[in-house]
């Protein structure tokens, strides 16, 4: 059996189809989930994809967080369901308080789209096991509200517990505190990051690299091993 990975479509989600493609390329089965349904269709893991859900109006992720599907995601994530939030998905996860801190507008006030260098700081999460600790990868980044902020106490705690999962290398594209590109919850099942691994899974399109594929193979292996 292969793993079934849900991808939530909120109104304004953009990378939901791309994420499904990445899941397929990794060998798992993508399952479309709809924001108005509480039913997670018994998937083994969930991805909250990138985009501008609700136009990013009010604050990125702020309105989606209150959707019916998120009630189930929050409940089940707390019970251990692996959840990955990419870009807008990461913003939803912070708004839903599944991950600490908040996302603000980029410090340079512009949307930014680039192939970004990252360091994988934590390979113990459900989504990063196929990387090696300290590995440097290039993953496309594209956002308006990518500046990760949290109070000093929270930042220190994240560092101390090894919960900074990804850090920007060489160039901080949005003014994120401590160059944070992505974090994990304490249990390691919930991960959020701004860059888009689903755009780095095929050699010909997107960034032309495949550095993002291990996200999807990591979770697949974990789920298949657990079953």
């Amino acid at each position: 059996m292969t793993a079934r990975i849900g991808v939530v479509t909120f109104p304004g989600s953009l990378d939901d189809r791309d994420t499904q493609r990445a899941i397929r390329l990794a060998g798992a089965e993508p399952v479309a989930l709809w924001h108005k349904d509480k039913d997670l269709k018994q998937v083994d893991a969930v991805v909250l994809p990138g985009g501008f859900s609700y136009g990013d109006y009010l604050r990125a992720g702020a309105i989606s967080r209150f959707s019916p599907v998120m009630e189930s995601v929050v409940d089940q994530a707390k019970a251990g369901l692996p959840v990955l939030g990419i870009c807008n998905g990461f913003q939803v996860l912070t708004e839903a308080h599944l991950l600490p801190g908040a996302m603000l507008g980029n410090d340079h006030l512009h949307f930014i789209c680039r192939d970004q260098k990252l360091r994988v700081e934590n390979t113990d999460t459900a989504w990063t096991a196929d990387y090696t600790a300290g590995q440097e990868i290039h993953i496309p980044l594209k956002n308006m509200d990518g500046r990760y902020v949290a109070d000093e106490h929270t930042l220190d705690m994240l560092e101390a517990e090894g919960r900074v999962a990804f850090r920007y290398v060489g160039f901080n594209p949005n003014g994120s505190l401590r160059d944070i590109a992505g974090i994990t919850n304490e249990a390691g099942n919930v991960v959020g990051l701004m860059p888009h691994p689903e755009h780095a899974v095929e050699p010909l399109v997107g960034s032309g690299r495949t550095d993002g594929l291990p996200f999807f193979t990591s979770i697949l292996k974990k789920l298949v091993a657990a079953s």
Binding site: Y54, G55, Y57, L58, I63, F66, S67
Partner: protein, 88 residues
């Protein structure tokens, strides 16, 4: 030092997608009885020295030419008085 607040709102006849998105979300959050929401910008300017009419006139001009685009936005300029409402 004093604070001058410039509030910039879209003109009433202009579509406010942000305000609408908030309003449409309210029933889902269990809020009834709010018939319209508009979202605008608030600028807090810290002014060195006293805020006399000349300074206010300058800030008015700043709002008119820079902080707001009066093709689509209105603005108000106020010297901030001590907060009267609930604060958190």
């Amino acid at each position: 030092m004093a604070r001058v607040v410039v509030d910039v709102m879209l003109k009433p006849e202009i579509l406010d997608p942000q305000g609408q998105a908030v309003q449409r979300a309210l029933p889902r959050l269990g809020f009834e009885g709010i018939s319209d929401v508009r979202q605008g910008k608030r600028f807090e300017l810290e002014v060195d020295g006293p805020v006399d009419d000349a300074v206010l006139a300058r800030i008015h001009e700043l709002a008119d030419t820079f902080l707001a685009n009066t093709v689509i936005e209105n603005f108000t300029v106020k010297v901030e008085e001590p907060a009267v409402g609930a604060e958190k």
